[in-house]
């Protein structure tokens, strides 16, 4: 899956989870950029991302992930 395709799917997941059709995520997007994205919603977001891509984040990755770009990197490294 190309990076563009990963981002396309991520956009859909973000829109579903935050129920906002206008969201467009980029490499630099962080929780500060999306109003409802707090530490609690983060849990649901990661679960939805895992489901979408059929992969699992480990604890180390969750703790160190800084922005959507890093999230995409982890996804790509796991699904090959």
């Amino acid at each position: 899956m190309s990076r563009e395709e990963v981002f396309e799917k991520l956009n859909e997941v973000f829109r579903d989870v935050f129920d906002d059709e206008e969201i467009i995520v980029t490499d630099a997007t962080t929780a500060d950029d999306i109003e409802d994205w707090d530490s609690l919603e983060h849990i649901n977001l990661l679960a939805a991302v895992e489901q979408e891509f059929g992969m699992k984040f480990n604890m180390g990755q969750v703790v160190s992930m800084k922005n959507v770009g890093e999230m995409a990197d982890i996804i790509i490294s796991q699904i090959g």
Binding site: V13, D19, L40, I43, N44, A47, A48, N58
Partner: protein
Amino acid sequence: MKELEYPFDSEYVLKKSKKIKRQLLEEGGNFLSKKIAVLGGSTTHDIIRTLEVFLLNQGIQPVFYESEYAQYWQDAMFDNPELVNFAPDMIYIHTSNRNITGYPSVTDKAEQIDALLEEQYEHFRVMWDKLAEQYHCPVIQNNFEYPFYRILGNQEAVYLQGRISFINRLNEKLYQYAREHDNFYIHDINYIAAVYGLDKWSDPFYWHMYKYAMCMQAIPEFAYNLSNIIKSVFGKNKKSLVLDLDNTLWGGIVGDDGVESLEIGQETSMGQVYSEFQGYVKAQKDIGVMLNIASKNEYDNAVAGLNHPDGILKPEDFILIKANWEPKSRNIVEIASEMDILPDSLVFVDDNPAEREIVSTQVQGVSVPAIGMPEQYIRVLDHSGFFEVTKLSEDDTKRNEMYQANVKRKQQQQSFGDYREYLLSLDMKGTIKPFEAIYMARIAQLTNKSNQFNLTTRRYTQSDVEQFADSTDYITRYGKLEDKFGDNGVVSVVIGRKGSMTDVSVYQTGERVTSSSESNVLHLELWLMSCRVLKRDMEYAMMDSVVEACKECGIGTIMGYYYPTAKNAMVKEFYAAMGFKKVREVEDISTVWQFDIPAEYAKKNTVISVNG
């Protein structure tokens, strides 16, 4: 909403809960609004979020109080003005085995373990007692789920030192408390965790990362199970199963194959599956679920099939057997109307997806589970929780008999020319008295379940009901009715508050008065009756008793209020029939009725022998 009916897609519910909530609220409907305090021993955010959509789908619109992280005990035990102001209708304590603060060590002696067990239990018991005393509302408490590892391996449950042994013993103490206290309900997460799969459920990632007691993906099933207890306590259980016959209660088609070829009984594997299902349905009857049949069949063939020697269900287990060639939607509407219940208290069980589709689109409110293959019927029905048991009353276990007696009464009615003559022939005996301790649970249940013959539709918990009974400000009456066909149990409830004429300005808005300077007027805050005793003159007997009670304490005027809802149009003119005069009308909110007790009051009931 189909997406929220068992078996649902948990990941979809988790991902889309915000959209689902928006849709449910947009669809509107008549929500019962309830304040629920969630006191957590771990993170509760996503639990509340998913619980909310399941409750909305069950017709309950919750407002939540959420304790700060893991502050369940502090919130309950210490001064908490925020929670007091919130005035919860229900408190849910979300704890898990992560909240057990001490386990036995392998070197502990039996007495030390007993002491530790007592210590862990007391921590909870004092909290439940305190909550009951302070909030007088139903409390739901999780039991403890099994730990995900076993130091003592397969002997973990055998040795007192094992954690499973410790949890089993602790849980048993919880159950004991639940058996001894009304208004206290166990949420069996140990069972739900087992159903889900303990390893997945207790994935330590979710505890260490987010302090969730279970994995994220298990939350919808968990919340659904919890929502079933809540809707049951608030009177939203279903009442009746409407079952298809061919390929639902037995394998094969009785009209084509003949009774002798049906698959039922121990001879074949499929026969065994249907037998187990019939046994399950029969057990539902024992907990008060009313059984009916809607089948496309010749009536005689349907009855012949039910008389199969290896069948467990027999024709007499059913209240109504609708076996004909009419559309099932029509039969279901008729079943509801003949039983005097609403279609939304029915669950339709049919193996044929096309029939299910027709019924769910044609009859508003009927539950139509996708029951799957025969070997899945029991699981789907059972986990759906349509008939979630919270209190098992004698009334529940006798309900089928009572409704069957009703059907017999209707048949007899047709043989009488004069209605009064018919009523007299029923040989009715009524008991109408102030609330008594043994009936408090049933009275509270009625206030939550009665929708049609209910003038004000006020919902009360058992502790509310007990408080009215204890207070001298109130006149309370329950009515029980027996006749030659059987005992109907407690079927009518009236609650009146003593006050003054000026209180009308409060009652006409739908509110209640909490203190009044005078007590020469009785305001009827609640008047309800179970529809199974409609047209039996029980309401007149209740009126007579209320009038008598008023005369005894010098009250000369009774004020009645009718608050319209989507379901109670049948009692719109009830007070007129009781001899009240309409004195005021607030559009869409209330009509106000007045009855001045005459010096010579002639009893209205002449067919029921009361308190004889």
